[in-house]
Amino acid sequence: MQRLKILGSLLTLALVFLGVGQAQTLVVGIESDIETLDPGNHRHRTTQVVLRNIFNGLVTRTADMQVVPELALSWERISETEWIFYLRPGVTWHDGAPFTAEDVKFTIDRTVKPGMIGGLTSPRKSLLDPVIDAEVLDTLTVKIITGVPFPALLTFLAFHEMVPKHYVERVGDAHFAENPIGTGPFRFVRWDKGVQIILERYENYWGGPAKVVRVVFRALPETSTRIAALRAGEIHLATWIPIDLIPEIEADPNLVVMSVRGTRSAFLEMNVTRPPFDDLLVRRAIAHAVNVDLIVQYVLGGRATPIPAVMSPDSPFYLDLPRWPYDPQLAKSLLAQAGYPKGFSVTIDCADIFKDVALVIAEMLRDVGLEAKVQVWEWGILRTKLLNREREMWVTDWGNATLDPLDIMIPKLKTGERGNYSGYSSALYDGLMHFAEWIAPTPELRKAAYQIAQALVHYEVPIISLYVAEEVYGVSRKVQGFVPRPDSWLVLHEVELRP
């Protein structure tokens, strides 16, 4: 008997070796482990990318970033500060219980009210800040109330996943964060911490069962290993492929490279609170000295889009201004006009990921007579130094997953905000931000205010907008129906695996 058991085990082992029974399992290599399984208790993009397959939002976005219904079928704005959402009937949690307006209220409360998650406040609160309450009108109707008019509510709601009231109240927040249930296409099976998250399709999903039976997200932080696992056939999809490793994937006949313009805007920023960059002429000179097209072409392998001003071309708030033309002669004469005919010395700071870009910019600045060098920092240290206004010039970026100016134009450039490293302070800009956020009576005026502000930034150049880079995936040819998205979500409901 014992011998039979061992034989059986060996057989299983052999089958595992041969990969039998795994055809319906899609394996995705992600660049880091997730931080939690509680969608309300993190500020981590990769965590959301994974959890979005277990959970749904009231609304979601299509691959081209249009807001569409998800758990809410429709909605109406009944006053400046009140929205009514009509929920999708027939939706069930993974334990079979129905999804209702109570769950929506529970989720909203848990997100925006202090101390609601095991005594701590949800770190996602400011991603839904103006919302103050939710009210259950009937089983499938819920009212969301904002403290002030919040025209971007739908865009921001897409980033909040609904959690089950009955379940969280019964098992507690800590247990929920280890054993979640959602309404999404896949239900949670197992999380081997630091290794993999295993999901199985939920047969009663309101959108119909997913095409693959199982999804495994494997945490492979080392890029070379992630690509090796892809080439070895251990994973079908790898995220975050760096530009210089693309040829390795292209050379493999079983793999394809897929990419899409992301949502992170990269900037060359200057400390405008002290010389020399407090002088507009100097900043313009720098703008003329930097050849963004060349950077995009040679450093980023063409996988980026130059931008004239802050917002990505994918945002409805994008303003298509002419970029400052590359003109080293003009840059030199502007520097001379500003009183620096012999140039000056400058250090360009950056974190490791921007080293190549910074080195090329330094070379371009040397061409116009500046003595430029590059210093690479650990980001946590550099950030503190930037906020203390200790540095002169640096390359960095800012994520804008909503593509709404609220979470890039305000934190980056409004006076005293947390991402405003350059120290830019303009009463006009701040006024436009305030107008757009709180006062603008129509979406058109809101858009106009943001676009005027972009033009202002473009004119005063406290930061030079460089580009929005593409996000690159390595994908097995077996994978069908995968669409890379600007917000880097991996929506796997429709993805198929060919044998």
Binding site: H44, T121, G194, E222, T225, E378, K385, D407
Partner: protein
């Protein structure tokens, strides 16, 4: 013996306090705001909310108070709550520690099983081809960085030959009930041979990438120490008495020759348990090293502290074990005199 061990552990208390204080101070002085880094580059966060997060985590309190809280917590068995993971630090460490220990044990077993015998052979057959080869191989073992070796192993055995998985600790298809966290042991206890084989397959490449340095060190040290011992008078005596050469080497000489090797192994084990971050990252190995590096990057103070405490404890225990093993290897060394 028990009281000796107890006293050694009590003597280690100041070491713990010293180490954690220095680390706490260094973290505190390193620029970088944990709350800001937690919120990442991007998205909205109002100043009020950042302040509230800071308060909830106790980061707004003075340095000494924060450190005091941490120390008091240790005595209550509470290492605090991670900023990033928002869970108890002790829980996070317990999840990751077995992976690191398991890898270290397998890697050092390989290192010792290969290192000691080849050291003995190299000493006995000094200046032969075997000795020269062993010297060359051990030089390579010391010089090749683990991450480089790791990537080469992955390219050969995972990408090209497809014999071993490139990364991870267990296949998703394996169903292993949670147990001690030491997966090899869990698989054995549950009689789950498929899982045992699977875990072993995942272990081999990272263990090979890890064991090089220790193997080389053990081999070189065994060789030189044994050569020295073989010239001692008592070895000559044993030979004079007509003991067979094998018995002279293995019974009389080797036991004494191993003393310095044991100390070096203990220190090496400590280094492996703590300093294996790079290999852990390359192989996606869910160990303590990776957890620590990520904690430092995000300035997750409580988590860094917890990890450092584990490292300090590891060194103290390993040194103690090394001291205790002397008594076994060389009965002249006794701890009784010091009691």
């Amino acid at each position: 013996m028990a009281s000796y061990i107890l006293r050694r552990l009590i003597q280690a208390l100041p070491v713990f306090l010293g180490v954690t204080f220095v680390v706490f101070l260094l973290l505190y002085l390193t620029p970088g705001d944990p709350v800001e880094l937690f919120l990442e580059k991007g998205g909205r966060a109002s100043p009020e909310e950042i302040e509230r997060l800071r308060q909830e985590l106790g980061l707004d309190r003075p340095f000494l108070e924060q450190y005091g809280q941490f120390v008091l917590g240790i005595f209550r068995g509470d290492l605090g709550r991670s900023i990033v993971h928002r869970r108890p630090v002790s829980q996070l460490i317990w999840e990751r520690l077995p992976a690191t220990v398991e890898l270290t044990l397998v890697a050092s077993s390989i290192a010792l099983l290969v290192g000691i015998p080849s050291g003995v052979i190299a000493a006995v057959r000094r200046n032969t081809l075997f000795d020269a080869t062993a010297t060359l191989v051990s030089l390579a073992g010391v010089s090749l960085p683990g991450f480089w070796l790791g990537l080469i192993l992955i390219v050969i055995f995972s990408v090209t030959l497809k014999i071993f998985p490139a990364a991870g600790r267990i296949s998703f298809a394996m169903d292993l009930a949670p147990g001690t966290g030491f997966l090899l042991l869990d698989a054995l206890l549950q009689g789950n041979w498929a899982a045992f084989g699977d875990v072993l397959r995942h272990l081999i490449l990272p263990a090979l990438a890890t064991c090089g340095g220790m193997m080389a060190m053990t081999m070189r040290l065994t060789r030189s120490s044994l050569l020295e011992t073989l010239h001692q008078e008592y070895v000559q005596t044993a030979r004079a008495k007509g003991a067979p050469e094998r018995r002279v080497v293995l019974r009389h000489a080797l036991r004494n020759a191993l003393l310095p090797v044991v100390t070096a192994i203990a220190l090496n084990l400590g280094a492996l348990l703590g300093g294996n971050m790079v290999v852990e990252a390359v192989f996606g190995w869910p160990g303590l090293g990776r957890l620590t590096v990520e904690a430092v990057k995000t300035r997750d103070y409580p988590l860094v502290q917890g990890c450092v405490l584990v490292y300090a404890l590891t060194y103290v225990i390993l040194n103690l074990l090394a001291d205790l093993s002397y008594a076994y290897l060389d009965p002249r060394v006794s701890h009784r005199g010091r009691e």
